[in-house]
């Protein structure tokens, strides 16, 4: 009886946390609309970037870029960190894993392109609803899902007219969105308060910020080639990507995760059923 009550209380707290978080993101969205797309320096979400300046963010972004790149290659080469130790991970890379990569790439890339350019906020700009899939693919399928997300974003870049060497940053940046919740969520079932809170921390906040800073650093470092000025990268692109990722992920992903986890687990496609650690 008391365990039932405490469980209900925990769920209530979780819903309040989720609602407050979504309300905060909505507030940021309204703030952007009110102040206008042409005034990014006035947006609430841009203030940390204005306050610390482009140089500081370039240094922070550089550290996260180096860490993300090392993790990306380490994971693909079959090494991972588990329990604070560097261990071998055995991903089968059999036809099922390869199909999972193709599936997630097609669904993510196709969905991004299918909804590209469709204004969600009429007359203002558009968001990317398919972003909600990226952290889910990591949580459900592990490294093959994260890799599919990376490839999917690359395909979407070509279809939306943004393909450049900057897309290499987008490739690993989107891998990171999927990788962070896959690696750091302890409960990946989307069926407990802990699982939902963990998703908000790792899948929404940390993954969105890391992905944004990763890509932004790459764009800034390659500015002589790509041609984007530092002020644009850190004063518009970085905060916008954080908002764009976090907003849709916070609202849609936990619901999709709740729906998709059981059938994927039941078919033995969940990463916990397919990866071994040595």
């Amino acid at each position: 009886m008391s365990s039932g009550k405490s469980s209900t209380a925990l769920w209530a707290v979780t819903f309040v946390i989720a609602a407050l978080f979504i309300a905060f993101l909505l507030y940021i969205g309204i703030d952007i609309i009110t102040k206008g797309l042409g005034n990014p320096s006035k947006w609430l979400i841009t203030q940390p970037f204005v306050l610390l300046g482009a140089t500081t963010w370039f240094i922070i972004g550089g550290i996260l870029w180096a860490l993300g790149t090392v993790l990306f290659f380490m994971e693909l080469l079959g090494w991972t960190i588990r329990g604070g130790r560097l261990v071998r991970q055995v991903i089968r890379w059999d036809p099922v894993d390869v199909s999972i990569v193709a599936l997630t790439a097609a669904v993510y890339g196709g969905a991004l392109a299918a909804t590209g350019g469709i204004p969600i906020i009429p007359g203002f700009t558009w968001i990317r609803p398919a972003n909600a899939l990226a952290p889910l693919f990591g949580v459900l399928f592990g490294i093959p899902g994260a890799l599919g997300t990376a490839i999917g974003n690359f395909i979407a870049d070509a279809l939306s007219g943004y393909l450049s060497v900057g897309s290499i940053g987008g490739f690993i940046g989107n891998f990171i969105i999927a990788y962070v919740p896959y690696k750091l969520m302890r409960d990946q079932t989307f069926r407990t308060p802990r699982s939902i809170v963990e998703f908000y921390v790792w899948g929404v906040i940390i993954a969105s910020v890391w992905c944004s800073l990763y890509i932004s650093w790459w764009l800034d470092a390659l500015s002589p080639v790509i041609g984007l000025p530092s002020q644009f990268v850190w004063g518009f692109f970085a905060p916008w990507v954080i908002f764009n990722n976090a907003f849709i992920t916070a609202i849609v992903s936990p619901i999709l995760g709740y729906i998709l986890y059981p059938p994927i687990k039941a078919r033995g496609l969940h990463w916990t059923d397919r990866v071994e650690f040595k």
């Binding site: 199909s99 097609a106 490839i151 393909l163 897309s167 290499i168 080639v225």
Partner: protein, 91 residues
Amino acid sequence: MFDQYATLTIIGVIILLIGIALYAARKKGGLMLTLIGGLWLFTMGLYYGLVATKLYGSRSILLNVIGIIILIVGATLSIVYIKKYLGQAKR
């Protein structure tokens, strides 16, 4: 002059060749790299195709339609293949 798209194409070719070499040598990860290289070059093909048809960078609805086609065809083929492979593995 630095050509971004030639660079991206060369990267795709290198990944594909390494993948094929590893796959031929029956090394683990060969299939994965072949797939990455293949899809990378598919993207580059898509880019060159869109440039040739003057659709690249446009706001044409056709681009959304291509996205839907990739989503449906890619997802269907992958799911059919996963089901077939899992069915074979059970037997």
